[in-house]
């Protein structure tokens, strides 16, 4: 489903929460970030952050594939792009996520925890909201 408002260019699409939709979500987000005037580097960082966020929703909020939908809204703004992800799974508490030690020696490296770290490092704003069975993650990327 594609609901577009030509005046604000806000575009919303809904995807089944499956990993094989990640490539299509990436194409959508990349296209919107390009239209918003972000640089090649910024577009790549937005793509990475959204991929990590949607993967987290499938893994942690829905605890599996094909359980629920993920709604992706892209809203270009004069100084960047706002992306809103909504799901109906288990609320995800970012405070529970330990930060990875990116300087640890190989033997001590943990294999998990990089996704949320990337999200916070690559986006300029990361906000989680939980209300009436809707989990909303708002990401904002400034034009560099």
């Amino acid at each position: 489903m594609d609901l577009s408002d030509t005046q604000t260019r806000m575009t919303t699409r809904t995807y089944a929460g499956r990993y094989d939709n990640l490539a299509e979500i990436a194409t959508f987000v990349r296209q919107e970030a390009n239209l918003a005037g972000l640089s090649f580097k910024d577009v790549f960082e937005v793509e990475t952050a959204v991929d990590e966020a949607v993967s987290n929703i499938i893994e942690h909020a829905y605890v599996g594939e094909g359980i629920g939908d993920v709604t992706v809204t892209c809203l270009p703004e004069p100084n960047g792009i706002r992306i809103i992800l909504e799901d109906h799974g288990i609320p995800f508490d970012p405070a529970c996520v330990p930060l990875p030690d990116t300087h640890a020696q190989l033997k001590k490296r943990k294999e998990h925890g990089l996704g949320y770290f990337f999200l916070c490092q690559l986006m300029d704003e990361v906000k989680f909201e939980f209300e009436k069975n809707v989990n909303r993650l708002t990401l904002f990327k400034n034009k560099s």
Binding site: D51, E52, S55, L106, L114, G115, F117
Partner: protein, 111 residues
């Protein structure tokens, strides 16, 4: 994602093309496990045609590196990383634990 593996006498070169995300990372893990399962622990990953890699793909790499370096039996070298992907490796702190080469030839020559 497309994977093409080439077996040489002293190492395996695995060329990964396209996207490595949560959907495709298991396929990469399977390919690398097949190589290490045959007792071959010297691997060069050719990333010259890699478009994207998420943390799911990085998990596969770190797990394979740990496996290959166990008992000092081998290594995993990375070659030809595009600049944007190199930035992701840097952010993850991977540039200090992986040997990174600009091209496949130099990686194969040094493993």
């Amino acid at each position: 994602m497309e994977i093409n593996s080439t077996r040489f006498k002293h190492c395996d070169v695995v060329k990964v093309t396209g996207r490595v995300d949560s959907s495709t990372a298991p396929q990469l893990a399977e390919e690398l496990a097949k190589i290490t399962g045959e007792g071959r622990y010297k691997i060069v990953l050719d990333f010259t045609q890699l478009d994207f890699i998420s943390s799911a793909g990085l998990r596969v790499l770190i797990s394979t590196l740990k496996n290959c370096k166990r008992y000092n039996r081998g290594d995993v070298l990375l070659a030809g990383l595009p600049a944007n992907i190199l930035s992701v490796f840097d952010l993850a702190g991977f540039t200090s634990i992986f040997k990174i080469h600009t091209d496949v030839l130099s990686a194969v020559g040094s493993i």
